[in-house]
C-alpha cells in the first residue's frame, strides 16, 4: 500500500461530528507508524442536511506524492474501507440530484471491506447491498447507529469502536496498537482503549464473492455538454402534479411512516404537516404516502392524533417505495398482515415521543 482511504458514509449532521472524530483520529494513529495522511470532507455534501447521506475520508499514505494526489480530489481513490454508520444506508445513497441512488459499495476497492454498524446478519444485509464484479468483504460491527446533533455530540463510544473495527479489517492501513497508543495520549485513555478493543474484537467479517449480493441497478449519469444546456442558467419547472425528477430524497430515510388505515380518522393533519409533500388523497379520505419522496422525518407520525395510527418503522425491512394504500384497498387483512410482518421484522415501531 502506498496510499489508502477510509470512507465514512454517514447521515448528514446527525453523524457529522462522529465522522469527523473517526477520520481525524485514524490519521493521528497512522502517524504512530510513520505514515502521513489527511482528511477530506466531501465538499459537495456541504451544506450538510439532516439525514442526507454524506461522506468524510481519511487518507493514509506512505509517501508525500501519493498523498498530494489524493488531497486535491473530492473523493479519494483506493478506498479500502467503507465504514457505514447506519445500516439503512446500505440500501443506496442519493446525496445529490442528477447522480441517482448510488450503491453503497460503488467506490470500494476490489478486496476492500464494507464495514457496517448493524444488528442484522450478513445474509440480510446482502439482500440490500448490490453485487460487485470483484470479491470484497462485508464486516459487521454489532450496534445501533449513533445519532447526535450539530451542537450536542453523542459520546457513546461508537467512534472508537468503529476505529477498532477498522484496524481489524485494514490492519496494514492503521493497526490497533497505533490506535491504542494514540488514545493513550489523550483524555479518557482507558475508556477509549476499551472501546477500541471492543470494536476490534466484536467485528465479524465475511468474504463476499464477485457476483454475490443484490441486483445492481445503478447506471452512471451522463451530464450534458455545454452546447446541450439551456443558456442563462435556466431549467424547466416541475410540471404541475409531478415531482422533481432528478432528486427523490428517500435514501435520507432511516425509518418510514407506516399507516394503520383502519385507525385513521381522516383529519388531514399528516397531509398538512408533511414538509415533503408526500401525502396523496385516496377516494376514501385516507392519506396514502408516496415513499419515493418521504425523507422519514417522522413529523406525520408525531403529529397524527390517533395513537398507533402512523408508526415509524425501520427502513431496512422494506424493499419497495410503492405506496401501500393499494394493498389495503385490495384486502384489508392482507395489509394488516403486511404491517404486522414489517413491525415484527423491525422489532417494533420507533417509540413515539408522546404529546408535549
Amino acid at each position: 500500500m502506498s496510499v489508502g482511504a477510509v470512507d465514512i458514509t454517514y447521515r448528514g449532521i446527525f453523524q457529522k461530528n462522529l465522522a469527523g472524530v473517526i477520520t481525524k483520529e485514524l490519521v493521528k494513529a497512522a502517524r504512530h507508524e510513520d505514515k502521513i495522511g489527511g482528511t477530506v470532507q466531501r465538499y459537495g455534501d456541504s451544506p450538510e442536511r439532516n439525514g442526507i447521506p454524506a461522506k468524510q475520508f481519511s487518507v493514509i499514505a506512505d509517501d508525500a506524492d501519493s498523498l498530494r494526489v489524493e488531497m486535491t480530489k473530492y473523493e479519494p481513490s483506493n478506498v479500502v474501507v467503507v465504514a457505514v454508520m447506519d445500516d439503512t444506508l446500505t440500501k443506496g445513497v442519493e446525496s445529490w440530484a442528477w447522480y441517482g441512488v448510488r450503491p453503497i459499495n460503488l467506490n470500494l476497492a476490489p478486496g476492500g471491506t464494507l464495514l457496517v454498524i448493524s444488528r442484522r446478519s450478513a445474509e440480510e444485509l446482502l439482500e440490500l447491498i448490490p453485487r460487485r464484479e470483484y470479491a470484497w468483504n462485508l464486516a459487521i460491527l454489532p450496534g445501533e447507529p449513533s445519532f447526535g446533533g450539530l451542537w450536542v455530540y453523542n459520546d457513546d463510544g461508537t467512534d472508537y469502536r468503529t476505529m477498532g473495527a477498522v484496524s481489524r479489517v485494514a490492519g496494514d492501513l492503521v493497526s490497533l496498537d497505533s490506535l491504542l497508543a494514540q488514545a493513550a495520549s489523550g483524555q479518557d485513555g482507558e475508556l477509549r482503549a476499551e472501546q477500541l478493543r471492543e470494536g476490534h474484537d466484536s467485528v465479524r467479517a465475511y468474504p463476499v464473492d464477485a457476483g454475490v449480493g443484490a441486483e445492481d441497478t445503478y447506471e452512471p449519469v451522463e451530464m450534458p455538454g455545454w452546447t446541450q444546456m439551456r443558456e442563462g442558467l435556466v431549467i424547466p419547472a416541475v410540471p404541475v402534479g409531478e415531482t422533481n425528477p432528478l432528486f427523490k430524497k428517500y435514501t435520507t430515510r432511516t425509518a418510514r411512516p407506516l399507516v394503520k388505515f383502519d385507525a385513521c380518522v381522516k383529519c388531514q393533519i399528516c397531509y398538512t404537516v408533511c414538509p415533503d409533500e408526500c401525502f396523496i388523497p385516496t377516494p376514501e379520505g385516507h392519506w396514502d404516502i408516496r415513499y419515493e419522496s418521504c425523507c422519514g422525518c417522522g413529523i406525520c407520525a408525531q403529529s397524527c392524533p390517533v395513537t398507533g395510527c402512523i408508526e415509524m418503522v425501520d427502513e431496512a425491512v422494506f424493499d419497495s417505495n410503492e405506496p401501500l394504500h393499494g394493498v389495503y384497498e385490495n384486502n384489508r387483512e392482507e395489509y394488516e398482515e403486511l404491517r404486522q410482518d414489517k413491525l415484527a421484522k423491525a422489532g417494533g415501531p420507533i417509540p413515539h415521543y408522546g404529546i408535549f
Binding site: 465538499y43 459537495g44 473530492y74 442528477w98 451530464m223 450534458p224 455538454g225 455545454w226 444546456m229 439551456r230 443558456e231 442563462g232 442558467l233 435556466v234 431549467i235 424547466p236 419547472a237
Partner: protein, 436 residues
C-alpha cells in the same frame, strides 16, 4: 423650451442622410434621448455624480409624458442593479447606471446580471474611486467588471453616447449575445458639457432595435422555469463556457449592427471596434479611451503638420477587446504609447489596465513595436495636447533607444519622475521640512 422637451416636439426626420433633428445636450442627456427612443420599460436610479443627470432627464421626460416607463428611485446601487436585473428577467427593457464607488457598491448585482445573461444597459459616468471622495474621471470603476461578461464601451462624444446606446441594446439583446453592456463616459468632459447632437427619429430607431424578446427564459407564469438553480463543480464550467461563447459571438453581432446603423442613420462607415485616426502610414501611435481621443487627434494633426508619421487609436469596445484590429493597426508601427486613465497597482510595468491588454494582444505578432506605458489624467486631471505631444516624444525616444520594457511614466503628476529616497521608504517631505 428645455432640451428634453424639444426632443419630442422635434421636426420630422428628413428622409435621407442625417435623419432626425439637432440639439445641444450633454452626454447624459444624449443617452436619455436614446432611452426615450428605445421605449425603455424600467429604469432604476440612485444618485451619484456624474452619471445621475441621465436619470434626472429621464424622470422629467416620464413626468412630462414624453416617455412611458417605470422609474424607481432605489435605496442603494445594489438594489438599483437588482431591480434592473429582475425587470429584464421579466422581459422589460431595463436601464441602470452609476459611477465610482456606487458601481462598486452594487458589484454583486452586476456580476449576476452578466452570469444570468441579461441585456441590461448601464451608463457609467467614470469617476475616481474613494477615498478621497473625488468626482473626476478615472476608468477603474467600469473596468472592475471587465472579467465578468459585461460588454464595455468607452464613448468620446455626446453623439457617440446616443448612437452607442442604441447600438448597445441592439447588440446586447441579440439572441446570439444576451449580455449586459456598460457604456462608459468620462466624468465632467462628457457628463457636464454639451455637444451638438443629432437625435434620430423613433421610427428609424425601432427599425434598428427590434423589441426585446427573452424567449423561453422569460419570467412569467406562462413560462414555468427555475432561474439560476444552485450548482457546483460539475456544471459551472459549462455555464462559463456558454458566456465565453456569447462574448465571442458579440464580435460578429457588433459588426453587423454597426453596419446596419451606418446604413439606417446615414453615418460614414467606420470601424466598429476602434477609432483609428491617421494610422495609415503611422510609425508611432498613441492609444487611449474616452475623451482623450479628442486631444489625441489634435495632437496627431499637429505632429503630422510637423512631418511626423503619428496616429491615434481610440479603443471603443473594450469588451470584447479589439485584438484583431489592434494587431492589424500596429503591425508596422515602431513605437506605441498607451495612455491609461486608470491604474493597476502592482501589475506588469506598474502600468494601467489598457497597457496590460494591448501588450497581451500584440504578443503573437512576429514583430512587436516598443510599447510605452503612461498613466495620465487620474482623478479628472486634464490631459492636454501638450501632454500628448510629450508622450509621443517619449515613445520615440525609448523606441530609438531600443528599450523593450520602458518604465511607466506618470504624465502631469507634480514632483519628480522618481526619487530614490522615496523608493527606499524615506519621506523626503519630513527630511526637507515639507510644504505642509
Amino acid at each position: 423650451m428645455t432640451a428634453t422637451e424639444q426632443a419630442t416636439s422635434g421636426t420630422p426626420a428628413p428622409a435621407g442622410h442625417e435623419a432626425g433633428h439637432e440639439e445641444i445636450i450633454t452626454g447624459c442627456d444624449a443617452v436619455a434621448q436614446a432611452l426615450r427612443l428605445l421605449d425603455v420599460d424600467v429604469l432604476a436610479g440612485y444618485p451619484i455624480r456624474p452619471y445621475d443627470s441621465v436619470m434626472s432627464a429621464v424622470s422629467k421626460m416620464i413626468a412630462n409624458g414624453q416617455m412611458d416607463a417605470e422609474f424607481i428611485v432605489a435605496e442603494s446601487e445594489h438594489s438599483q442593479f437588482e431591480i434592473g436585473k429582475h425587470a429584464s428577467l421579466v422581459g422589460a427593457r431595463a436601464f441602470i447606471g452609476s459611477a465610482g464607488v456606487g458601481w462598486m457598491y452594487g458589484m454583486e448585482a452586476l456580476v449576476v446580471t452578466a452570469s444570468l445573461r441579461l441585456p441590461v444597459i448601464a451608463l457609467v459616468g467614470n469617476r475616481a474611486l474613494d477615498d478621497p471622495g473625488a468626482f473626476g474621471v478615472e476608468h477603474n470603476d467600469a473596468l472592475m467588471v471587465r472579467d465578468t461578461g459585461w460588454l464595455l464601451y468607452w464613448v468620446e462624444s455626446a453623439q457617440e453616447a446616443l448612437d452607442t446606446t442604441l447600438l448597445a441594446y441592439r447588440v446586447a439583446e441579440d439572441k446570439r449575445v444576451m449580455l449586459p453592456c456598460a457604456l462608459s463616459m468620462d466624468g465632467a468632459f462628457l457628463t457636464h458639457s454639451q455637444h451638438i447632437v443629432r437625435v434620430p427619429d423613433e421610427e428609424r430607431v425601432s427599425r434598428f432595435v427590434p423589441p426585446y424578446d427573452l424567449g423561453d427564459r422569460r419570467f412569467h407564469p406562462d413560462n414555468p422555469v427555475s432561474i439560476a438553480p444552485q450548482f457546483n463543480e460539475d456544471w459551472v464550467m459549462e455555464a462559463r463556457r456558454q458566456s465565453d461563447a456569447a462574448m465571442r459571438r458579440a464580435r460578429t453581432v457588433i459588426g453587423e449592427a454597426t453596419a446596419d446603423f451606418q446604413r439606417l442613420f446615414g453615418r460614414e462607415p467606420e470601424d466598429p471596434f476602434v477609432d483609428a485616426y491617421r494610422m495609415e502610414d503611422a510609425e508611432y501611435a498613441l492609444i487611449g479611451m474616452g475623451t482623450v481621443g479628442m486631444v489625441g487627434k489634435v495632437a496627431v494633426d499637429r505632429m503630422r503638420a510637423a512631418g511626423k508619421k503619428v496616429g491615434f487609436v481610440r479603443v471603443k469596445w473594450f469588451r470584447p477587446f479589439p485584438r484583431p484590429e489592434l494587431r492589424a493597426l500596429l503591425r508596422n508601427v515602431k513605437g506605441v504609447g498607451i495612455v491609461d486613465r486608470d491604474y493597476s497597482f502592482g501589475s506588469s510595468s506598474h502600468a494601467g489596465v489598457l497597457y496590460t491588454e494591448v501588450t497581451a494582444a500584440l504578443y503573437p505578432e512576429p514583430r512587436r513595436p516598443v510599447v510605452a506605458p503612461f498613466i495620465a489624467g487620474l482623478g479628472g486631471r486634464e490631459v492636454s495636447v501638450e501632454n500628448m505631444l510629450e508622450m509621443e516624444d517619449s515613445v520615440e525616444r525609448v523606441t530609438a533607444a531600443g528599450e523593450l520594457d520602458p518604465t511607466c511614466q506618470w504624465i502631469g503628476v507634480r514632483g519628480p519622475a522618481t526619487d530614490p529616497r522615496y523608493e527606499q521608504g524615506e519621506n523626503p517631505r519630513t527630511a526637507e521640512g515639507g510644504a505642509r
